[in-house]
Symmetry: C2
Amino acid sequence: MAGVSIATVSRVLNERPEVSPETRARVLEVVSEQGFSARWSARALSNGSTGLIAMTIPVVHAEYFANILSGVAEALHERDMQIVLFSTQHVPERELRLVDRLRTGTVDGAIIMLPSERSPQLLRLLRSGQPLVVVDDREPIDPLIPVVSASHATGAREATEHLLSLGHRRIAAITGPRRWIANKERLAGYHAALAAAQVPRDRTLEIESDFQRDGGYLAAQQLLRLRERPTAIFAFNDNLAVGVMRAAAELGLSVPGDLSVVGFDDSDQCTVVAPHLTTVRQPLVEMGRMAASLLLRQLHNHSSEALRVELATKLVVRASTGPPAR
Amino acid sequence: MAGVSIATVSRVLNERPEVSPETRARVLEVVSEQGFSARWSARALSNGSTGLIAMTIPVVHAEYFANILSGVAEALHERDMQIVLFSTQHVPERELRLVDRLRTGTVDGAIIMLPSERSPQLLRLLRSGQPLVVVDDREPIDPLIPVVSASHATGAREATEHLLSLGHRRIAAITGPRRWIANKERLAGYHAALAAAQVPRDRTLEIESDFQRDGGYLAAQQLLRLRERPTAIFAFNDNLAVGVMRAAAELGLSVPGDLSVVGFDDSDQCTVVAPHLTTVRQPLVEMGRMAASLLLRQLHNHSSEALRVELATKLVVRASTGPPAR
DNA sequence: CTGTTAGCGCCTTCAT
DNA sequence: ATGAAGGCGCTAACAG
């Protein structure tokens, strides 16, 4: 319609320099008049890339997922790329489908959140040259795979130091599942702070739980019934902390008067509970951005640099912490 | 490698009946040995469909989004289809990108959540034969477009009836933005229940707010300072209700002793506040499922039946409501 | 039942 | 600066 060949139109659409301005103008005019746009699958077939990235949906809290997601989406948007969602509910059969989509070129790469296990799937994927990035490895993962996570240890350390600086000495910890990496690091940070302040570690003040509110509630009941009860509880996530506050309320203990409480995550619920919860903020959106950018680099360099990025957490002091009662 | 033609392999992979069992077996063996899988973009190019559908990410609450999302994902999974995310932050320029992706065949159809406006974009899309479904229209939308939403009116009516049956007569309402459809319907339900109980409508007990916690807080302060203050407040979403409870606490009013509170949504925060919030549950996951299934029908029938599906809400009675003090 | 052939719509050398 | 031609990997119609 513009009196030129298909090849020329292609060049115009791809903004190649080797087209005369007049031709370009003529083509663009017709294109916009006709509302033409290049069929995407043909493009993908021809140049071997789809501009799509896979992302798995973990079963955990919606808020966590949505925040990381939005970071990834933002970063990809700048490159005109999009996310394809894979609801592999940690079901192996479903994970296979993701693997398949990668291999068949539905997507150019994948961001895998909270991978369930040492998953041999992942390794095989990476070995076969698939670009992928893991966000928050739950258990030790092959060092070949790039990982983005938060600085759990430092965050936990700061939280504990905050309590110490307020004068607390009996600081209990309600932890998540022992095996999770994030949990181990938080525990390490907690211990480090105590050691630095020369507060001896007390095993009876450490309770393993499940990152759920009820778990925090039960653990807190146990802690608060101790003969010498803690003056502060560091719950390893906000859910646990909310459970702690519920238990405290039932026992007639005021927060932070009788008990200081610190959480981890800085989720929405922190400002729902009364008093508002002091916590450690995880930079979820930034983690998403970072994951996307690592993936994009793999895509362009065709080399997967094995690295592990830890983004800084930040202590957010609210109203649930204060000096211990005397 | 299996000694057959490409066409035959294609037939085997597509499970066509016209292949002899022996050939099929031979092909499948080689396929699995070699780890072969059909390139997806070629497939898409050839048969004109990508198996991908677009979903917009609204700016609102993560939880809302994640729930609907998971409903859609589940429904699509059964058809081996996936979601492509479009983070059009109600920015027109970004919405154009979605439009473009639809036209270029990146995706087969789209599910649009909380469309910002009477958006002429949407209409143009539908007119051009694009399969799409809207979830939760915010303002009146062209009747040509299929919509999935919750039965706001019925839900609000039940909530109000619940309060009436407890003996409340002065029941205030803190509403969302006047223009939103969901809000209008909730208001209608509220009025209907009052009328049925022959409780005259009192304008001073209706305050328009913004669906945010702070808005609920401010509105509640205003209501609770009235000379004749309400014995119950129906907040038109959970955020508002949480704000109400905060205001009540500050004024030394006990819930539900001095004041009953009802929310709407059944979001996570309902069980974070003390006491747990009575609310109206929106069937978000089911709405997602329904949207997906409407879209799939459009995809198969090539006809867009204009319809509007309202999924039932459900009153969830928790601890924030009780009989009024005398 | 299987192989051959012709596209699907774009991008990319290679000529001109 | 432009056009012609081949190919990306698959499906479908047509022979045999």
